[in-house]
Subunit: 390 residues, 2 copies
């Protein structure tokens, strides 16, 4: 009698402050709807503890990456990102995860998609969720991606080898436009009549920015403080729902949480301020150019999303956005084209390569330093019925 | 130049309501002190998120099992359990984990330590932490441990094949005695002068039982309620410290949290009562013979430890213990030799095989039904320096 489980090759890698299960596209069912039951099974979802699978029971540890031969002439690999819900029967394919992007280069090198060249190998990654190219500069040692180095990412213990991620031409990842509404600032009106000024910027992912003070926040709150302020987080989610409807992601704004929980992203920003991180480290005002907090799948993100940082950096360079009004002015920054965002775990720096009028800049790329680690290679056992027969 | 990481074979299995990384003893350094840095690295500890390793950032998902050839003539495999601290630089080898024990039989079969025989293969497991033998009756299909079945374990979604665990001769796992103090009840005096009646029973693991009402609890609290009652949990930990000193596990009771955080176990019990589980399911009084809550590594256990259930069942059969005074009397139970313990996730049943005078019974074995699943086989990458050269 046949065993009731079959093995599927997989790897586990940390990318930045997230962790994901990596698959080769050829090992999975051919389309997303038939991949979803398999991914949910692999992660042990839905279950708030994900005890029967590989999931880590948080949104930052319930992510999958599917890597295959490139469908884009300028790329070495295709990379598809999937956010697997912890507690719901749901897989979200809507956007990319910048942190996990940092692990795609190392995986592609270790799997032989790209010839390993020391000391640094550049991998051209085509993210299929956004249609965008990411250039990843990965340190290599002994034919494998190196993990040892001296670069620190807030939220990750110790230091590792730095991977520089250049998100090429990030504008319009979902909507085709840097400013999907053609305006740097819009007014959102909620069901209860309250109105909020928002900036909607689509770079790497679409993100909705609100001023912290409009929500009653100072901007320096930590994730548990944010989640305790349920009236404010409900307001943020309602604002996100309106924008999701505007962007055509859901017919009715009230269904956004269910239909498109991950996109657009939403967050709030404030002027540069001194604050204390989750780990109790004091960050002086002079170390940051902006104070920012993002939501992730209806919870407060523990650090700051890489794709969110790219959108934040882009927004900072556009006259009239809420971010532009709050960021440290260019003349007062150490590096004009760089934005240091103060987040709950520390500071993330994004460097913009672009030009043109500040009312409508051309953004050729945004670069962010990350680290990654190849943790495990193996095969995960899944119920036989979840793979095509044969 | 050599890569800075080397692969070590491992597997991930769920056992009951816990999840562990399994290793073959031959693949690891030869002694526990040199294994500890490797295990901490594999799990990503210390780090409250364990983001750079395989840990799941909770005590129930930060466990390791090391399996090798038997050193006991009555066993098929040796099984060593390690509790890897999430946030501290610490590996605790002091006790066994009953939930993870349920995954040892399936792993031993899948790895070929025992010839797979359908429909049920019995694996004789020697737990080196306690020196005890566990007989595991494992359903087998297609030459592998079966995962599909109709047995439900509270705290695990769905149903799986039932694995019956018989803990043979569980008494005296650590201390050599069922009642380490030779008394069914002792009085603990704390530094502040308060005194508490406790029962210390060593079966599968040593456990200290306190009456819920002595701590100001009703007994039906859920883990978050328990953890919010910090005065009561501090008292429990202080009681545990005194008993750790009595048992010779630490010279000074005030160092118990640091030196021996996992042993003895401690918990509180109450008469059978109706309550609502963490998942919102109502448990009627008639479904339980005792209400129980256990602590695990200074936090409230989300369900109930298997080894704790064995000690609880043993305590229920000994005249004069706090458990014996609160458990539903034998004449009123559906099965005289069975105890149904109501815990935060549901009900766990333990069946005793024993006899002798109730003041000093002989306990030949305690049987508990569990489920397990072989989730992944692979190799985990660890820094080269953590393995012996060669």
């Amino acid at each position: 009698m046949l065993s009731d489980s079959v093995p599927v090759r997989c790897s586990i890698l940390r990318g930045g402050t997230s962790k994901a299960v990596f698959f080769l596209a050829n090992d999975l069912p051919p389309d997303r709807p038939s991949m979803e039951p398999l991914l949910l099974s692999v992660f042990g979802s839905p279950d708030i503890r994900q005890i029967d699978g590989l999931g880590g029971a948080t949104s930052q540890t319930s992510k999958a990456a599917i890597i295959g031969a490139p469908s884009h002439s300028g790329a070495d690999v295709d990379y598809t990102f999937a956010q697997v819900s912890v507690g719901e029967q749901l897989v979200d394919w809507g956007g990319n995860c910048g942190n996990i992007s940092a692990a795609v280069g190392p995986f592609a090198i270790d799997q032989g998609f790209v010839r390993a060249a020391e000391p640094v190998t550049t991998v051209r990654v085509h993210n299929t969720n956004t249609g965008k190219i990411i250039l990843e500069h990965v340190p290599v040692r002994g034919g494998r991606a190196a993990s040892e180095g001296d670069y620190a990412v807030p939220g990750v213990p110790g230091t590792s080898a730095r991977i520089l991620l250049e998100f090429s031409d990030p504008a319009g990842s979902l909507t085709g436009k840097l400013l999907p509404t053609d305006r740097p600032c819009d007014e959102v009106k909620l069901d209860d009549g309250r109105t909020f000024q928002v900036s909607i910027v689509d770079a790497a992912n679409p993100v909705v920015f609100v001023a912290a003070e409009a929500l009653g926040f100072s901007g320096t709150e930590l994730p548990l403080d944010i989640e305790a302020a349920t009236a404010a987080t409900d307001t943020l989610e309602a604002i996100r729902g309106v924008v999701a409807e505007w962007l055509g992601l859901v017919p009715d704004r009230h269904d956004a949480t269910k239909v498109t929980p991950g996109l657009p992203k939403v967050g709030f920003v404030a002027r540069p301020m001194a604050y204390r991180t989750t780990a109790g480290v004091d960050v002086p005002e002079s170390s940051v150019d902006l104070t920012g907090r993002l939501m992730s799948m209806q919870t407060a993100h523990r650090s700051y999303m890489v794709t969110g940082a790219i959108a934040t950096a882009a927004a900072a360079f556009i006259d009239g956005t809420i971010v532009n009004a709050l960021v440290r002015p260019i003349g007062q920054r150490p590096i004009a084209e760089s934005i240091r965002i103060g987040h709950p775990y520390g500071v993330m720096e994004a460097v913009i390569n672009g030009d043109g009028p500040a009312a409508a800049p051309v953004i050729r790329g945004v670069a962010i330093g990350r680290t990654a680690r190849h943790i495990l290679d193996g095969q995960v056992w899944v119920p036989r019925g979840l793979l095509p027969a044969g």
